[in-house]
Subunit: 216 residues, 3 copies
């Protein structure tokens, strides 16, 4: 069935960033699977849903279906490779929570960029486009944590959603307000998000908690 | 990208009801977040997913994408306001299960109305339209409970899904079979749903349980 | 609203297989609900989401919205019947994990066939179409297990996702490369998937686990 809408051809930069984001998120998903001692196919499914979940969520919400991942074999190959590499070499890839979170921070930075850019390409206004960047960033990890029965990272009391939203907002502002090339826009937004997230993990920054006694 | 389909402009009544439903569901989501001692951004994410989740699910299923919430800044502002108000004033907003359930009952009534009306506007037949009303009503709370690792309300042994389905059915029947103004249709369907749910909570009505010994 | 895209009319074979898959998955969902001692409406919701979840996921991803289940009352009736039958006659329908898994294996076989065929009908390339077959097969059970707070079957250390992918791949290869009638294509792919899954359960076949010490 031919697409009926004139779809903006994604730039090479955007595709490469998207694939890189899928790769690191897939590794973070596969590491969670290995730590839960899932078998190889469970690890692959968790790698795939973590890597592709955020993008699927974004594409469905902005009407960009079928998602790119179902039209381009590279999008499907990447999580398989990431999952197998993690499965076989997991002691080298890393066996600690910290390593999962490290890959997660880079995935977050990449996806908040590609999510926001794609949403703008599909005609969304700036505010929803920034939100879609955040959703793309936090979606894959939320699906991973739901499937693995973990408390979602986004609720773990560390800064998570807000760096993604800030990075996506920077992307939207620079894209709409300047003529900077995509790669610089991506570096600025994704860099802000990833660095903020990494520093928050390193310094153990906490977002404000509810005041007063814990509710019962 | 211009929409290709002639979309019925939603009536003001429908938009107001939808926003009110998002507001009360977002409060119920935020209250769950506060009770789990999430930080401010976790509370906002839970407020947003609870408030917008049911509508997103409906819009994706009936092909009404991108959802209204991504095209209209009011839909995004409402859960942020509801989340912040709950975060700062939670001891006043309420700290008990009962309060969450109270807001939940009003959200259920509002969403079963707006879900059914929107599904009819998009050309669905009466039976699926009533079902979409129920899905819109129970969807946000299910997403909230999944993310918060709680047993979904809908399974908690109290009447939950059936008042939503009944309210949506009343809306569909009145809309298709009479010339009543939208506000009266909404009051009849939403009122039935909310009152039924509240009375079920108050009297602790239980739906039938499986007969015989619990399966092993 | 009239559909704007020329949609391939589904063959009767495909519809019958789809309805059969929905029926057995709905029973597997309802059995989980009965075992968790949910009330009748909780059982029906779990039957419906398990029966229709995989297909909804597929239809949303391949842009086949609104899903068939919202346009054809038979799709809605089937899970209700399956849920009520299971609710009333559960001691006869089966009360053991093994019975749930048996129905699950047949649902897996049916859905990997209908998912792959429908994805091909909607113009997807062979590889993504096979993947959509797998997603349709494992989606309903994943939704069921998430809602019921169980570890998803797909992670339970038995072969699950790979028989679904293999069955879907057979369907795609036979459909694209031969002139076999649909019913034979379905039997070959679905049979492979279900038999493989049943034998894996019977012989307790395990997929490879990660090597080395469990990660901490």
């Amino acid at each position: 069935m031919a697409p009926t809408l004139p779809v903006t051809e994604p730039s090479t930069t955007l595709v490469v960033l998207d694939l890189a984001g899928i790769f690191v998120f897939a590794i973070s998903g596969a590491l969670v699977g290995v730590r839960k001692e899932l078998d190889v196919f469970g690890v692959l499914v968790l790698a795939g849903t973590t890597g592709l979940g955020g993008g699927f969520l974004r594409d469905v919400l902005i009407s960009a279906t079928p998602p790119a991942a179902l039209q381009d074999w590279r999008y499907l190959l990447i999580p398989v490779v990431a999952g197998l590499v993690t499965f076989w070499f997991h002691p080298s890839v890393g066996r600690r929570e910290r390593t999962v979170n490290l890959f997660d921070a880079f995935g977050l930075g990449l996806f908040c960029v590609t999510g926001a850019l794609k949403a703008l390409d599909y005609g969304l206004h700036p505010l929803p486009a920034a939100l879609m960047g955040m959703v793309t960033g936090i979606g894959g990890g939320m699906v991973r944590d739901l499937l693995a029965s973990r408390t979602p990272s986004v609720f773990r009391g560390e800064l998570y959603a807000i760096p993604a939203l800030a990075g996506a907002a920077v992307v939207v502002v620079l894209r709409e307000g300047t003529d900077l090339p995509t790669v610089l826009v991506a570096l600025a937004g994704g860099g802000l998000c990833t660095v903020w997230r990494l520093v928050a993990m390193w310094r153990n920054w906490q977002a404000p908690l509810p005041r007063g006694p814990a509710s019962v």
